[in-house]
C-alpha cells in the first residue's frame, strides 16, 4: 500500500527550492515540499498561527479514502519523533487490513501482539489477552 509524505509550510515553493538545494541536511529529501502562503490549507487543519503566520508542528495521516485517521500537534519548540510517526502509520496499515484486530500501546510492527476481536469477553481481561 503506497504512501506519500508531503511537508507543508507557509514558505513559497521558491524558498523550498532554495532551502532544499542549499542545506546539506536535506540532501536526502525526495518528498514534495508544499507551500501554503495564504494559510488556507493550514487553517483548515488548525495549524495556522494568526499571530505570526507560521504553522504549528502538525502531522496528519489521511487514508486512501480521504478520511483523517490521526493528528499530532506540537508547539514550536518540540520536534516530532519520526519513529513514532512510522509506528502509527504502520499500525494504520495493519488495522485497515485486519479489521478485527487492534494495536495496543506496545505494538511497533507486524508480528507484535495485537488484541483480536476485542469484545465483551475481553472486558477486564486485557492482561490475559496480551499475555496469551
Amino acid at each position: 500500500m503506497g504512501c506519500d509524505i508531503v511537508t507543508v509550510s507557509t514558505d513559497t515553493q521558491f524558498v523550498h527550492l532554495a532551502w532544499r538545494n542549499g542545506e546539506k541536511e536535506l540532501a536526502k529529501v525526495q518528498y514534495p515540499m508544499a507551500s501554503d502562503p495564504t494559510g488556507k490549507v493550514s487553517r483548515m487543519f488548525g495549524v495556522y498561527n494568526e499571530d505570526n503566520g507560521l504553522d504549528l508542528r502538525g502531522t496528519f495521516i489521511i487514508n486512501p479514502e480521504g478520511v483523517l485517521m490521526n493528528a499530532e500537534l506540537n508547539w514550536y519548540n518540540i520536534g516530532r519523533n519520526i519513529d513514532e510517526l512510522l509506528r502509527k502509520f504502520k499500525a494504520n496499515i495493519y488495522v485497515s487490513r485486519k479489521t478485527n484486530e487492534v494495536c495496543p500501546s506496545k505494538w511497533k510492527d507486524d508480528g507484535d501482539k495485537t488484541l483480536v476481536n476485542p469484545g465483551a469477553k475481553m472486558v477486564g481481561k486485557v492482561h490475559e489477552a496480551l499475555a496469551g
Binding site: D4, V8, F14, V15, A34, I62, V67, A71
Partner: protein, 56 residues
Amino acid sequence: MSECCGGLKLGQKVPMFELDTYEPTKGDFGKFRLEDQIKNKRWTILFFYPADFTFV
C-alpha cells in the same frame, strides 16, 4: 474535544485541496492534490512545520 484541528475531526473526510510544491525528484515545481491521492489509492502524511531555514 471532538475537534482538535481547527475545522477537521478525526474520522471525517478531508475536503479536497491543492497546494503548489517544489519536487526534489524532478527538480521542478508541481502541485499536490488530495484528489489525486484518493484516485491512486495512496495514504498521505501531511507534515506541517513553521519555516524553512530554521532549526528543529
